[in-house]
Subunit: 212 residues, 4 copies
DNA sequence: AATGAATGAGACTTCATTCAT
DNA sequence: GATGAATGAAGTCTCATTCAT
């Protein structure tokens, strides 16, 4: 069985944003068109993360991206659309590699492992939340996040079902909550909280509960 | 045994904010001055929660609070100061009551119960993130949150110890993560996610693990 | 013959302003009414001189004068009226003493002497011009200045007539121009210009022309 | 002998400002950019002169210049910067032509003649004082003015020396004082004072004293 | 005589967006 | 494709003035 796990690791909200900022927004850049779009998106991403959506002006995006303001509106219908496209790109981005045909428990282990790795780069998280929370009341943003959430939740649910969980939905939701809760606390109290410890603790519990 | 539980309910980040918004910002309202300030703060709070700080205009605050725009600047030096004063009030607010001398498991039950109640008012949560992640305030706010976190984490840790947990620190941290993770997801996917279900699920696990 | 010379010394624009700032605006202060008015005028004067009319707010006048903003409008119909009353006070202020029954040449000598004295206090002049020029396009201010100018010009003209000048009007106007021109240049180039020297030079010319 | 008289006419403070306002602020106006900047500066100058800096609104500048309010802020960072740029232009402006190799007396005649012409346009003078006496600019402006003063004073002093004056420094200073004094009085009492008369009177005196 | 809370018109400024070239 | 000058609606904030007490 071949699960679409290659992309799974980026399911949850925060983790997605990590990737957002560590990679280039768009890898295709053959035509001039794509080069320009990429320049705009890359620049906007850094600025949105740094100063927030509202405080970033199209003027600054144009200046830093070394394109004219007019060109931005040639490719994007509005500033809002830059944000939307940015978020869509994030979730379409390829993720890390997951062992093919892994056992469910192994799958979760790998997931938490890569999550812990991501957590170590704290500055990345901050950038992510900055973008995320400053736009939480934008309906467009909320919808994307919600859809992605539902989509990936079902994958995790299946894994717990394969593990033999009696309430795979609940297990899936709880794990997602733990991950994002840990990420959130890392931002505020990372120095005293040691977030990775909780992930291990949770994993240990799964092993005891679902292991051989 | 008398635990300082009266304030416990406000431990975690988001829950704090719930209280902020569910109560009146300022209780003294004898003089005209205080009545006006209260009207402005109360109105601003709801609007910030609803639309975010940036999208709320002073014009709208004035209109909804039924005061003139000038009066806002008579009491607050800027829109930013309204936000600052709001945050200060949050952390000065007193908390609710916890059953005195409750059993540890009962204590956690009550905690999750009041948390679930808070979660129902979704718009309230929004103010928290909106306020928290404004770039410029972040460091100051982060410190306050961190201190609160550490302080209340120790209380929860003690409860798990009383329950007979072999790793009370981990249990405490995990529970806090679950709570804030649930809160976070409620914002984005509350309609499909049913956050309260996860809380029950977790509680059931505690009962099985620590119950009689 | 008794000329109204006691007041003459304050004829020209700048010299008037010197007195304005070196003396209290109003000497009567028996009743509470007069005390309050005096406090307001005195405070406004310093502030207008320091920051200019526009940049001085009624709020600041009230605060520094230790009266309420309402009281200012109880005694003055507008901020503009404070300025007008201030300028009127300046021109009504008593001046220095002039030797009674002095010879015309002696009269001019004394005039220039007291003018030179006033010039020494450079900061005073700056304050004067600050108030004066910042309000030059206010018609009310211009009218007061103009009337005073005409009034005192006629006194000086008479003195030159007594001296035997063939064109006393021209002599009077020229002398007034020299005085204010000297004052003006003192502000900008006082350190290199030595304004008092010009006054002596002019006086020497009068002595040669009109003297015995 | 070739005196650097070409620029002499702008020696004294006020006269400088006349030129400022009688000429276009910026001569280059090829590109659209320069045309717009010129429109804004020219309009602002007239308005500042007429109503003073504070009473001139950006709205009015935009309306009279027939550009949008936004365009003003596209080229100038603030209303204050318009003022600053205006002052800079003043001192960069080239001056009029003086008859080459003129006799000293002729030179002074021409000087006073062009000065009298300048005086006729009263509104022009106002911008000078309005601009000059804004508190915040004073020190910077004062220095520029002082340097110009010293520089051109020396030219006038030489002319009086050539005329055979026994005290050319004093004559030079006195003449400069008369000119600026006359200008000053023109503003306040121009309608009754007839400033040009004094200039003729002074010139007549020079003719009698230094003429053939 | 005195207070100070309250008002509202209008100021400066910002910035997403358009459009002629 | 690309530019950048131009727009104008909307925002924050100021402050002279009023008015109930």
């Amino acid at each position: 069985m071949r699960l679409p796990v290659g992309r799974f690791a980026y399911t949850h909200l925060f983790f997605y944003f990590y990737l957002l900022t560590s990679q280039s927004v768009c890898d295709m850049q053959n035509t001039e068109r794509e080069i320009s779009i990429k320049k705009i998106l890359d620049t906007a991403l850094v600025l949105f993360a740094d100063k927030g959506f509202n405080r970033t002006t199209t003027d600054e995006i144009a200046r830093k991206a070394r394109v004219s303001k007019g060109l931005i509106y040639f490719y994007f219908s509005s500033k809002e659309e830059i944000l939307t496209r940015l978020i869509e790109h994030i979730f379409d981005e390829g993720g890390g590699e997951m062992a093919d045909g892994a056992e469910p428990l192994e799958f979760i282990e790998q997931l938490l492992e890569s999550f812990r790795t991501a957590l170590k780069d704290m500055t990345r998280w901050k950038v992510a939340t900055s973008v995320l929370f400053q736009n939480q009341n934008r309906e467009a943003v909320r919808l994307i996040l919600k859809n992605k959430y539902v989509q990936y939740y079902s994958i995790l649910k299946d894994q717990f079902a394969l593990l033999g969980s009696s309430e795979p939905e609940m297990d899936a939701k709880e794990l997602l909550a733990i991950m994002d809760g840990v990420a959130l606390h890392s931002i505020f109290a990372g120095d005293v909280f040691k977030p990775e410890a909780v992930l291990d603790f949770t994993l240990k519990r799964y092993r005891k509960q679902f292991g051989p």
